[in-house]
């Protein structure tokens, strides 16, 4: 089935295109791929990428080569919440390896796997620019910093109960980027 953006997103995309010179609408590709990932189930299927290509009058390969280059785009289905733990230098110095082990044990899955209830996927990522507040993980648009076992426990509980959302409220002026949190609505 061909995916279809909501009319709100389509009108945001029209505004987005005006931010680049007329002949350069390909520049809108990365922002639109973020929107597609958020709106079409948290990952980019081949159908989603083909659809984005058609919106920008691009060859599908131009979209595939971009989507496969950048780490934020998931090419396979993920859990509802993707827990992306920073593993680089300063976070490793402050205990990131332990946090990954703790998450694996707590959720009973390995890296890049999803819990059977479809809620959580664990991933390792490189530096998130949170080196002074590590260990850190990103879930949707939310950074959870200064991680300890207890903090991981309360974060998981809050995500399960819906107390913690993985998106920041979008300010009034912004037309950018629906978030991962929006995909449930």
């Amino acid at each position: 089935m061909t995916p279809q953006f909501s009319s709100q997103t389509l009108s945001n995309i029209e505004i987005l295109k005006t931010r680049y010179p007329v002949e350069q609408s390909k520049s809108a590709l990365l922002p639109i791929l973020h929107m597609a990932q958020a709106e079409f189930g948290g990952y980019l299927s081949r159908e989603s990428m083909d659809y984005v290509a058609s919106l920008l009058n691009l060859q599908p390969i131009e979209v595939y080569e971009v989507a496969t280059f950048y780490t934020m785009f998931h090419l396979k289905p993920t859990g509802k919440y993707v827990l992306e733990v920073c593993r680089t230098g300063p976070c490793a110095l402050s205990g990131a390896e332990h946090i990954v082990d703790y998450l694996k044990q707590k959720l009973g899955v390995d890296l890049n796997q999803t819990t059977p209830d479809g809620l959580f996927t664990i991933k390792e990522v490189e530096c998130l620019a949170s080196c002074g507040s590590g260990p850190v993980l990103q879930v949707g648009e939310c950074y959870v910093e200064n991680l300890t076992d207890q903090r991981v426990d309360s974060m998981l509980a809050a995500l399960k109960s819906g107390e913690l959302s993985d998106n920041e409220p979008t300010p009034a002026h912004s037309i950018l980027f629906r978030t991962c949190g929006d995909k449930q609505s």
Partner: protein
């Protein structure tokens, strides 16, 4: 306390909002520049200030601006590099989060100086929440006539756009950033032509780091000469230092360039000393790409002179005994740190982030990670150390962009200063995981 320029008024509640920022002198430089100065006069002030690019390379911002091709009939662009991804560096994020309008103000004044009618802030996609806040700040500035058509009633107009990346360290390299902004893979371009001649969409373009642009409002308001009086000689002004690792007070500090390194590490105004009563073992002073130095060489040069937080002092001794100020990502390691494990961690990072265009980097970073992995995991051989040095040499200087160098330097320097630890790992594979041993892997205590 150090002088505040970038973080001036940063502690005032609500300073992230337009009204409060404006009440405390915000956007003065836009008024001054647009109403009383020509664009070239603004460029002159920035030249006089001695401001050097704060992203890592330390090249003169005023010079960079003066290379811009003003004779071309193509549009000119200013692009802000907010793709902060250098391990150990989180200052731009801090600045944008705390005082977003300072960057917006800097973008307006700088765009005016360069004659750009459209400017982009390329921010790493992981910081989407910050991208939205910047958009919000842009909306506020626009509503008050400071952005958009005919700024403050003048005939100067500027459209400022926030553009998110997709997750790729390489996009911090300025030509890769431009490719990415054009909707392509972030592959660095061959230079020349430099962006100042042929940049975004083939048009003359200046790319500056967030922190460099955020210094411009103060320079324009107070004059380049005033700015040049701060700091020491060719290291003028203030710099944001991101402090992380085994210290009591990690965080972002604005320092006057010239502060002694020892004071920065041990004073309670900054890092507050090594945590848990441990001792200092090593420092990576300017983000993961710069050479690591052992305690004695970061505190004093090989000649015994106390080292200062300046471009010149940190690089005193070249790569044999010195390092670089780089991005100011200051990573502190105490005596429990395993240098081999840390080096492997960095090697894995560069292997992951190599864009794959140039063979020496694509293949070499993979080999370095592989060899370091086996040393760290007890399978190293005595030849491995020289093999690493050899691979690093074969990458350095042989790639289109600086990522190859950035991948080679941390490894070459770790072996230069801590060769005994690598040898120990290879000679005593059984002791690597001994919990009481200094070479214990990180994160297990």
């Amino acid at each position: 306390m150090s002088r505040k320029i970038l973080l001036e008024n940063g502690d005032i509640s609500g300073i992230d909002q337009f009204d409060i920022y404006r009440q405390h002198g915000g956007y003065q430089s836009v008024e001054k520049a647009i109403k009383t100065m020509t664009p070239l006069e603004v460029v002159d002030e920035v030249k006089k200030s001695g401001l050097r690019g704060r992203g890592g390379a330390g090249f003169s911002t005023g010079m960079k601006w003066s290379f811009l091709d003003r004779k071309s009939d193509k549009p000119r662009y200013l692009v802000c590099n907010a793709d902060e991804s250098e391990p150990g560096t989180f200052k731009d994020r801090y600045l944008m989060e705390k005082i977003p309008h300072r960057l917006i103000e800097g973008m307006i004044v700088s765009s005016y100086a360069l004659g750009a009618s459209r400017a982009y802030i390329y921010i790493r996609g992981e910081l989407m929440w910050l991208a939205k806040r910047l958009e919000n700040a842009i909306g506020e500035a626009k509503a008050h006539g400071l952005l958009g058509d005919n700024i403050l009633g003048s005939d100067y107009s500027l459209d400022l756009v926030v553009h998110p990346g997709g997750g790729a360290y390489i996009c911090g390299e300025e030509s890769a950033l431009l490719e990415s902004l054009e909707g392509k893979r972030g592959y660095p371009r061959l230079k020349p032509p430099f962006p100042a001649i042929s940049g975004l969409y083939g048009c003359p373009t200046v790319i500056n780091n967030v922190e460099s642009i955020a210094a411009v409002p103060w320079i324009v308001t107070h004059g380049g000469e005033e700015y040049s009086k701060i700091g020491i000689e060719k290291s003028s002004g203030t710099k944001l230092i991101s402090a992380s690792g085994h210290i009591n007070r990690p965080g972002v500090y604005e320092i006057e360039l010239g502060l002694p390194v020892e004071e920065f590490i041990y004073s309670d105004a900054y890092c507050g000393g090594i945590r848990n009563g441990r001792t200092l073992k090593a420092v990576v002073a300017g983000g993961s790409s710069v050479p690591i130095l052992p305690a004695e060489l970061i505190l004093r040069t090989a000649a015994g002179i106390p080292r200062l937080m300046t471009y010149e002092s940190l690089s005193d001794g070249g790569f044999q005994t010195g390092t670089m100020l780089g991005s100011g990502g200051f990573i502190v390691m105490d005596d429990t740190t395993c240098i081999v494990r840390n080096t492997w961690n960095f090697a894995r990072f560069y292997h992951h982030e190599s864009c794959g265009q140039c063979s020496p980097c694509r293949e070499g970073t993979g080999w370095m990670e592989k060899v370091l992995h086996r040393i760290e995991h007890g399978h190293g051989t005595p030849k491995d150390i020289d093999l690493l040095v050899d691979i690093a040499k074969k990458i350095e200087g042989k790639t289109i962009c600086a990522l190859g160098d950035a991948a080679a330097w941390p490894i070459a320097s770790a072996i230069r200063h801590f060769r005994h630890e690598f040898e120990y790992h290879i000679a005593h594979p059984d002791k690597i995981t001994d919990p009481d041993h200094v070479y214990q892997p990180m994160g297990t205590k």
